[in-house]
Amino acid sequence: MENTYNFKEIMSREERLAPGHRMCAGCGGTVAVRAVLRALHPEDRAVVGNATGCLEVSSFMYPFTAYEDSYIHNAFENAGATLSGVETAYRVLKKKGKINDTFKFITFGGDGGTYDIGFQSLSGAMERGHDMVYVCYDNGAYMNTGTQRSSATPQYADTTTTPAGKVSNGKVQVRKDLTAIMAEHHIPYAAQTTFTSNFKDIHTKAERAIYTPGAAFLNVMSPCPRGWGYDASELMTICRLAVDTCYWPLYEVTDGKWMLNYVPKKKLPIEDFLRPQKRFKHLFKPGNEELLVQFQKEVDKQWELLRRRCEA
């Protein structure tokens, strides 16, 4: 694994997700896909899998595909199982001498297809140890159907099925910590990342995930301008604030060893991350100060828990 990160070389690699797809401007999902596929060594081939969602309906609308590599979409809840079939076919066909090329197996799913409906299929694929990477582009709600709550939706978020209203403050529950759950499958590599200024974090993690033999899981916070309510040009700012408030810590778990990849010099208050997003607008109304306090407490609790895991 390379320790050096040559920004210019990496960014000048040929795109494996062709332009002309129909994803929204400012969509984090598309950035996640491009960043992860850039970590494939240019000489290697891949089969890209995909759960049903925004990405699938926008990047493979018949008769056009945006993928330079082989690609398979099956359904919403089975990206893990589908790619496990592809990967197994690869092993047996290679053993029988029917194919020669080196293929890598990467599948993408939104948080709906990963945290919720596809959770069982993902868990099975990881537990069986297929040599594949499952990448969740986590935008914290069912965006393809119009921003309904998922188990990845943060507490208090205003979604179309947990609307903030006269007697509602948005989603009641806190988010599911899927990266930790995947790490507890004792797979060789699990990591959490998003888009940082030079994309080193996501690139390094994607490369490790792809080239570590066995099952790997990558959770990429991928903001959605429509669902979160920010201006498309603010994508990178939102990501920086998520990381600097410790809402979305960057960490990885390699062979059971937990490691924090980034500790902000000054941990920013959670308001800084919440304020630019329309989905949290109601939290800033007079009388809702306590909700912000609660949100901060949850972030602090999770951050402390993660730090303890990483120090152990």
Binding site: H73, K98, Q120, R128
Partner: protein, 396 residues
């Protein structure tokens, strides 16, 4: 020389899998099909086959992984029953629409509600619109023979459709019968090596599977599936001819039993045909009445014209359904056979029976009563109950 053996239906299917030596088998256990993956796992554990087994965590994942493996270029299959198949439902449609030559060993079992582990056809009949070829068996010999023909039918360039090889849970799956096995080299000759034209792992040509197709394109994919299903009729008969040449055993869309002069006819699917044949022999020997049987082997594609041609000039016909479709009228076989007779402008009297749901026994005497009733209907032209039950417990 064919090999004489005594095998259960499950073991016969597993033995066929061993002889075919497919690439990938994802499977999840469910009664009464569980033994099939168990036998295969044993063959793998003893180095007898090269197949990779995927220990999936559900039947939905079983069919999803089978689909992935097949799209990747592998010869792939799975086995299931009842609720396992219901959990695969969504994937059955995807597999057919992706035109993947998957084979499913289905051991028919009643769908839950209430839970029941015995044979009926509610699982496969519910999937009759999913785009799969469906081939049914009366005996262990037939399910073995059907399984050997399944991959060549599915993989034929004119077809490219998945095939469901069905047998009745416990009745044949667990019943041990004498069986003639085909020699390994003959199986290899029949089934051949799989060389897909397009597949995900083709380094020379990337491929994309499973698109989003808007209204401008969706309808043509369904029409293409229909054409493939029509082509399948020809291919199924070709395979049957090759198989007959190899083994001497004859197969078609359906079996005609004592139909040469039959006036009163039963139409049925699956293992109960054996009981019906015993009733026919008994009736013919004791009374000389002209009774016969039409046993459906291929339900999808449905051999409408061929069946109507054979049935249309009989005096009276009883169509026997081993599953409900809750139309409050026919069962699925009843509806389709009647439609076929209508198209052929048949004047035959027709009744429809439900029998054997959830494994309820059907006896030689039951069939004798059906034939007696057919004779009566043919004479009186009065049908009091168009949709009747066999073996139903009475209220008292």
């Amino acid at each position: 020389m064919a090999i004489r053996e005594r095998l259960s239906g499950n073991e016969a299917v597993a033995y066929a899998i061993k002889q075919i030596n497919p690439d990938v088998m994802p499977a999840f256990p469910i009664t009464p099909s569980t033994e099939i993956p168990q036998y295969v796992a044993n063959y793998i554990a003893n180095g007898e086959i090269d197949t990779e087994f995927i220990h999936v965590e559900s039947e939905h994942s079983a069919m999803s992984a089978t689909l992935g493996a097949s799209a990747a270029g592998a010869r792939a299959l799975t086995a299931t029953s009842s609720c396992g198949m219901a959990l695969m439902w969504e994937e059955l449609y995807v597999a057919a629409s992706d035109r993947l030559p998957i084979v499913l060993a289905l051991v028919n079992r009643a769908l839950t509600g209430p839970i029941n582990i015995n044979a009926d056809h509610s699982d496969s009949m519910g999937a009759r619109d999913s785009g799969w070829i469906q081939i049914y068996a009366e005996s262990n010999q037939e399910v073995y023979d059907n399984f050997l023909q399944a991959f060549p039918i599915a993989e034929d360039a004119r077809v490219h459709l998945p095939v469901m090889v069905c047998q009745d849970g416990f009745i044949t799956s667990h019943g041990v019968e004498n069986i003639l096995l085909v020699e390994d080299e003959k199986v290899k000759e029949l089934v051949g090596e799989y060389h897909p034209e397009h597949f995900l792992l083709n380094g020379k040509e990337p491929m994309a599977v499973g698109p989003y197709a808007v209204s401008n394109y969706y309808m043509e994919t369904k029409r293409a599936q229909r054409e493939a299903m029509k082509n399948a009729k020809e291919v199924i008969l070709e395979l049957a001819a090759r198989f007959e040449e190899m083994t001497g055993r004859h197969y078609g869309f359906f079996e005609e039993y004592r139909m040469e002069d039959a006036e009163y006819v039963i139409v049925i699917i699956g293992s109960a045909a054996g009981t019906c044949k015993a009733a026919i022999e008994k009736i013919r020997q004791t009374t000389g009445k002209k009774v016969g049987l039409c046993k459906i082997r291929v339900f999808r594609p449905f051999p409408e014209e061929e069946l109507a041609e054979v049935l249309k000039d009989r005096k009276a016909i009883a169509i026997m359904d081993r599953s409900e479709m809750f139309a409050a009228t026919s069962g699925p076989l009843g509806a389709e056979v009647r439609a076929a007779l209508q198209s052929a402008k048949s004047q035959a009297e027709v009744v429809n029976y439900f029998y054997g749901l959830g494994g309820r026994d059907i006896t030689v005497e039951d069939f004798e009563r059906v034939y007696e009733r057919l004779e009566q209907i043919a004479e009186t032209h009065v049908i009091e109950d168009m949709y009747d039950y066999i073996g139903l417990r009475s209220r008292d």
